[in-house]
């Protein structure tokens, strides 16, 4: 088989009718049951507009990543073929790739500038799943997929399993489902685990980066369970005051640019503004998620050591007292 011609169905566009139907069903369920989540018209329309823009930017800029993968494919001597177990293995390894890209997305501001918009809604419903970035290409995170191509997985297969990964993550953006059976919660990413990821409560910050399998968070020490008595408060630590999709898409890139061009910053500072975690400031006045956790524990000492607030997750609060 000529692998240069290998094609798989474009699963994400095929799933669009299902996305629309599921959103209408969730909206109706919340209206009838009067529980299981919240919807707000402008928030939902913004999320959907971000989803449309994500597909459009993928169509316009997708050739950059795909060209890079095809170049790697030409230089690698390895070829794993297309049998079903290779596709399954590719799916699992690409989910590991997703975990790390997502973790960088929260810990490296250059990548956060793209990913932030997925977290810019104060709601958590199926439309939030479609609130996707327009600027992913500029993060250069396609590099993290390079090892997969070099190992002999065909680029078309990698994009196919990546699409399946995205579709899986759609249904977990809901408050209508509580907890799944124990074994599911143990292995898979679920609505409960991903609600934690979208929470801005100090204990829930920088947790549950998983795409499909939650095991990566358990392996790499970033897992935090959803606690019965602490509902996630969704959104950003400091929420953005706009429903305008253009402002949602580009606000953090503009913020980086403004940090770069303020008076008195060195080239080293500019570099660090791009690679340090969100919240870092060159004058030491910033505070990232670990500082927020530390301050929270200081104000609520009885929470020390509870999930998400273990000593290893707390940074030092370098902000001077007001």
């Amino acid at each position: 088989m000529d692998l240069a011609q290998l094609t798989y169905p474009d699963v994400v566009t095929l799933a669009v009718p299902f996305f629309v139907a599921a959103i209408l069903i969730e909206m109706t369920w919340i209206f009838i049951a009067n529980r299981g989540g919240r919807y707000e018209v402008r928030d939902a329309m913004t999320s959907l507009a971000m989803g449309v823009g994500n597909v459009a930017s993928g169509t316009l800029l997708g050739f950059v990543a795909f060209g890079f993968f095809m170049w790697l494919w030409r230089i690698t001597p390895l070829d794993l073929g297309t049998s079903w177990w290779v596709i399954a293995l590719c799916f699992v390894l690409d989910d590991l790739r997703y975990y790390w890209v997502h973790r960088f997305g929260h810990r490296v501001r250059w990548v956060w500038a793209s990913h932030v918009n997925h977290h810019s809604s104060q709601h958590y419903n199926l439309t939030t799943a479609l609130r996707q970035t327009w600027t992913g290409t500029f993060t250069f995170m396609m590099i993290v997929r390079a090892p997969l191509v070099l190992m002999g997985f065909h680029p078309a297969m990698i994009l196919f399993v990546g699409g399946l990964n995205l579709i899986y993550q759609f249904w977990i953006h809901t408050e209508a489902i509580g907890k799944m059976p124990r074994w599911v919660e143990a292995v898979m990413n679920t609505p409960s685990h991903h609600r934690v990821h979208h929470g801005r409560n100090p204990r829930y910050l920088d947790a549950n980066y998983a795409g499909v399998f939650i095991i990566w968070d358990r392996m790499f020490g970033t897992f935090v369970p959803e606690l019965e008595d602490e509902r996630p408060d969704y959104g950003l630590v400091h929420n953005i005051g706009t429903f305008n999709p253009l402002r949602v898409a580009f606000h953090e890139w503009v913020a980086i640019f403004r940090d770069w061009t303020q008076p008195g910053v060195t080239w080293r500072d500019r570099f660090l503004y791009a690679v340090m975690p969100p919240g870092w400031r060159h004058d030491g006045t910033g505070g990232g998620s670990d500082a927020l956790k530390a301050r929270y524990v200081e104000a609520n000492p009885d929470t020390a050591g509870t999930p998400g607030l273990e000593p290893g997750r707390l940074g030092s609060d370098r902000r001077r007292p007001l």
């Binding site: 566009t13 669009v16 009718p17 909206m27 707000e40 429903f243």
Partner: protein
Amino acid sequence: MPLWLLGTIVVVGLIAVWIASRFYGYDEPLTLDEEAAKREFIADNPGLVPEEVRLAATGQSALIHAGGRLHVLWVMGQDVATHVLDAPQIIPTNSGLVLTLRDFAAPRVKLTLAPEEAATWTALIEDAA
């Protein structure tokens, strides 16, 4: 899937979600009392404690003194946004005031205020600057 079909499904879907939102009442804005405004402000500004809250008669915006600075809070749908006021431009309008913010995401915020309320707020903001 051909582009025309995908485009049609997307447009029909967007319209359907918009109509359903209206029909189910998901377009009703939040109204705050002073306690709720405080709570929302604290949630959005970890580490800051509101010292003084001036809530608009509409319950849709507030001026809040915290950490030695003046902040504005305004309702966005069923949630709120907050921002520190850094010598904003104050633009009077027929329905209240528009304030400029040093923020690409929200460069200006529109506040609905009664005429006498707008005058008091203007004085408070100018005093703080």
